[in-house]
């Protein structure tokens, strides 16, 4: 064994574990002892990672942590991907947190905005996923990590099941820097299906009294897809997918892209695009992809996380999905994000607000949601060197000058001109510029995707090819041209729009061969969740809130 000259960090870990003493039997802690164990292993000033992923949550450990008060634990530097649970918010209300670095706060966006207003939310920064994971290895290495796994064996090896998500990215930097890894598991068994985290990286394990919280985030009921969304999907298929021959891609989680997935086996087939586009996907196992998979469109899918109800289907389609030897679904958020950054031709997703320069944001004055992974995928990675047909074609349109990359990733924003409640999507200035938000974020305006990175905006009015614009003024005119009846859209000038249309920078549905009257829900491969179950030959088990049979 190599002995370090200074091993203060290791000694400190030994002290912490010694303090736990008989509260644990080996690595195993009884549920009722968890609060006291947490009090003894966490020290003031610690960087503490509480695993809260996009989908799975170390909710039992979070709830136990929230039973403690400021006198037990204080000055915590909290690092976590997603602020999701009421227990997370509780830690701030109790004043236990001195700084937080995170990525996303979707479900608690309103609570976070309230905490910011009350000055009880000391943000270091809001990150994208891979930024935060990167910093785990640089200056935000956790001293203690509280994580969630599906199963542990008696030695302490962990099995993560379909939702691997962030766990390896949290455990590795912690375990290899003398930090403490504490895992909650759904069950302790003699033999786990496969080892995701080896036992020697795990210090404590508790079998939680209830299974970890797992959010079904990516289930989109085809019944809720509107005909406007079908129209936009048709326009995108012809004007972008077909035009650039997009081979590899990421889809957002909205209904717009769900419509595209359900059009592939029908409209896409009719256009003769099968085998020509959409072969390799970096997405979660979206139930709405089942018809495209069943009709042979999809060659591979790599995922950031799992999706509730897709376990049996993905096991049966291990030729498409990544699975363990046991057939169990495998996901990995940092690797998925990396794949989405460098490996794909196109990112396409929706947004709540887009300004006249093409910057987008999901922040409003009363809701701070953060970023998640969209900016990693919705950006131009200047480190990319490998070409693809789509990358070169989009690059040529963008007319790169000397000293820039010859290619471009397609970064597509697909939005209706109005959100629910007739709130315009297109605005002159983003709500994200709100001074109190910028101040809390140390001067950074929380922009999801920068206009410079966006290549196309698709609305029900048509397509604006921002990459082909030659000036800021031209880009603004192109955005106004597809912004419909929003105040931004009403400022468009007919002559400018016609000029852009003549140059192919703005394309209306008819310019890409789509007749709006054709846009019908009957084009979707299925109109409801039950249809997806049928397409899966009964292998998809939708969550109960989607079942009406």
């Amino acid at each position: 064994m190599i002995t370090a000259k200074t091993a203060k960090r290791r000694e400190n870990k030994t002290e912490r574990i010694a303090r736990v003493g008989k509260l644990a039997r080996g690595k195993f802690v009884a549920p009722e002892k968890v609060p006291e164990v947490l009090r003894r292993i966490v020290e003031p000033g610690d960087i503490l990672c509480l695993e809260g992923d996009n989908q799975k949550q170390a909710d039992f450990l979070a709830n136990q942590l929230a039973t403690l008060g400021k006198k037990d634990l204080r000055d915590i530097h909290l690092v976590m991907s997603c602020i999701t649970l009421p227990a997370h918010i509780e830690l701030f209300r109790k004043g236990m947190i001195k700084q937080v670095d995170f990525c996303y706060a979707g479900p608690q966006g309103t609570a976070v905005a309230d905490l910011v207003k009350a000055k009880k939310f000391p943000v270091g920064a809001i990150h994208t996923y891979n930024e935060l994971f990167a910093r785990f290895y640089v200056d935000l290495t956790p001293r203690v990590a509280l994580v969630a796994a599906a199963q542990a064996d008696r030695k302490g090896n962990l099995y993560l099941a379909a939702n691997t998500e962030d766990t390896p990215a949290v455990v590795e930097p912690t375990a290899f820097s003398d930090g403490i890894v504490f895992a909650q598991v759904n069950e302790i068994v003699d033999r786990i299906p496969h080892i995701d985290i080896p036992a020697d990286q795990v210090d404590f394990i508790v079998q939680a009294p209830y299974p970890m919280h797992l959010q079904a985030l990516f289930t989109r009921d085809p019944a809720a897809i509107t005909e406007v969304q079908v129209l936009m999907a048709m326009v995108a298929l012809r004007g972008i997918y077909e035009k650039y021959e997009v081979q590899s891609l990421n889809h957002g989680v909205g209904f717009n892209t769900a419509a595209i997935e359900l059009l592939l086996p029908t409209y896409g087939e009719r256009l003769g695009l099968k085998g020509k586009i959409c072969k390799h996907w970096v997405v979660n196992p979206l139930p709405t992809m089942i018809p495209a998979i069943e009709t042979g469109w999809v060659e591979s899918v790599f995922a950031f996380g799992g999706e509730v109800g897709m376990e049996r289907y993905t096991a049966a389609r291990s030729d498409v999905f990544f699975t363990g030897r046991d057939g169990g679904f495998h996901s990995n958020r940092p690797m998925g994000q990396l794949a989405g950054l460098y490996g794909i031709d196109m990112f396409i997703g929706a947004s709540l607000q887009i300004d006249i320069n093409g910057n987008s944001s999901t922040v409003s004055k009363n809701r701070i949601t953060g970023y998640g992974g969209a900016p990693n995928m919705g950006c131009q990675p200047t480190g990319r060197r490998h070409p693809s047909k789509s990358w070169l074609k989009a690059g040529a349109e963008a007319n790169p000058g000397p000293g820039t990359s010859p290619g471009r990733k397609l970064v597509v924003q697909m939005v209706e001109t109005f959100q629910a409640g007739r709130v315009p999507t297109f605005v002159e200035e983003l709500d994200a510029h709100e001074p109190s938000i910028r101040k809390a974020l140390h001067g950074v305006t929380p922009v999801m995707i920068y206009g410079d990175d966006v290549t196309h905006i698709v609305t029900e009015e048509g397509i604006a090819n921002l990459a082909a614009c030659r000036s800021v003024a031209e880009r603004q005119a192109a955005i106004r041209a597809v912004a419909g009846y929003t105040p931004v859209g009403l400022k468009r000038k007919k002559r400018e729009t016609e000029d852009l249309r003549a140059r192919g920078i703005v394309q209306l549905p008819e310019d890409v061969g789509v007749r709006p009257s054709e846009a019908s829900r009957s084009l979707l491969a299925t109109q409801d969740i039950k249809g997806l179950v049928r397409w899966s030959n009964g292998l998809y088990d939708p969550p109960s809130q989607f079942v009406d049979w």
């Binding site: 018809p291 039950k530 179950v533």
Partner: protein, 292 residues
């Protein structure tokens, strides 16, 4: 696996157009006549020029019918004075002319803004339906959407000779939220969609004999379902009512204590619950030995 718009997603006018023989529909009291609810106008609520129901003459397979389709998008298809009067008149005309009458139902019952006149109108329409039945003029209700047939329209639907349903259709008197409010969430969880459809959905109603045909969710299937009943009628006699009453008593004894909808399905002859849950229309009917 794609084709026409599903029946339950169509509007009332689309449903009519896709059901009847080409160009055979002649609307009575059409929107240009602007018969609107005086009560909604007084309350400052938007009105509709058809008051939420489209009525007229048409042909199906060459046979003359009277036809009404309720508009679920307009105050949930609820029945007010004008809406109700249009229905009453249509069934009276059917009795007078001895022409079968079909009602495409999509209504939660009486419109609360004009409750009394709505109630009276529904009662008068039921009387007109029984006039038809006494004359052996077929009356058929089609229930094919999740708005379904509830309240007074639930009762009215069961007064017709026959009911054609799809798995999306729901039939009852009190709606799920009302039941939950009165009985408690423990007794009936209205958010449990599977429970709601297994108690009031088309399949269960077919098993229990409240629906006479269970068809696929397409206009073609609904049209076929209607056609089969156009030449028939079911007599209302003391004997038939007594027989039905006996049947209901027997069923109450058998299922009165059960809280598990699957047990009712099993008791009504469904062997493979999972397969039956996924099946629709005739496939479901084939899996269930109704009434055994």
């Amino acid at each position: 696996m794609t084709g026409a718009i599903l029946f339950h997603e169509q509007t009332a006018r689309q449903r009519i157009a896709s059901l009847v023989d080409l160009h055979s529909f002649a609307e009575l009291l059409p929107p240009p006549e602007r018969l609107t609810s005086p009560y909604l106008a007084q309350l400052g609520i938007p009105v509709s020029f058809d008051d939420g129901v489209v009525i007229g003459r048409a042909r199906i397979g060459g046979k003359k019918i009277y036809l009404a389709a309720q508009v679920g998008q307009f105050v949930g298809g609820a029945v007010g004075e004008i809406h109700g009067a249009k229905l009453t008149g249509l069934f009276k005309a059917a009795a007078r002319d001895k022409v079968p009458c079909v009602l495409i139902v999509e209504s939660g019952g009486v419109r609360l803004h004009e409750g009394s006149s709505g109630e009276i109108a529904i009662a008068e329409t039921m009387r007109a339906i029984f006039e038809c039945r006494a004359l052996k003029v077929p009356t058929i209700a089609v229930i094919a959407t999740d708005i379904g047939a509830y309240g007074g329209i639930g009762i009215l639907s069961t007064c017709c000779d026959f009911r054609v349903m799809t798995e999306h259709g729901r039939l009852g008197i009190s709606g799920p939220i009302v039941i939950e409010k009165w009985m408690g969430k423990k007794a009936y969880d209205s958010a449990n969609r599977a429970l709601v459809w297994k108690t009031s959905g088309g399949k269960t109603k077919y098993l229990l004999g409240d629906a006479d045909a269970l068809v696929h969710d397409t206009a073609d299937a609904v049209r076929d379902g209607i056609s089969k009943f156009l030449g028939k009628s079911s007599a209302v006699s003391l004997a038939s009512i007594k027989a039905r009453q006996k049947e209901l008593e027997k069923r109450l004894k058998k299922f009165g204590a059960t809280s598990e909808p699957d047990a009712v399905w099993k008791g009504m002859g469904v062997r493979d619950i999972e397969a039956a849950s996924l099946a629709s229309g005739p496939e479901f009917a084939a899996l269930a030995k109704r009434g055994k």
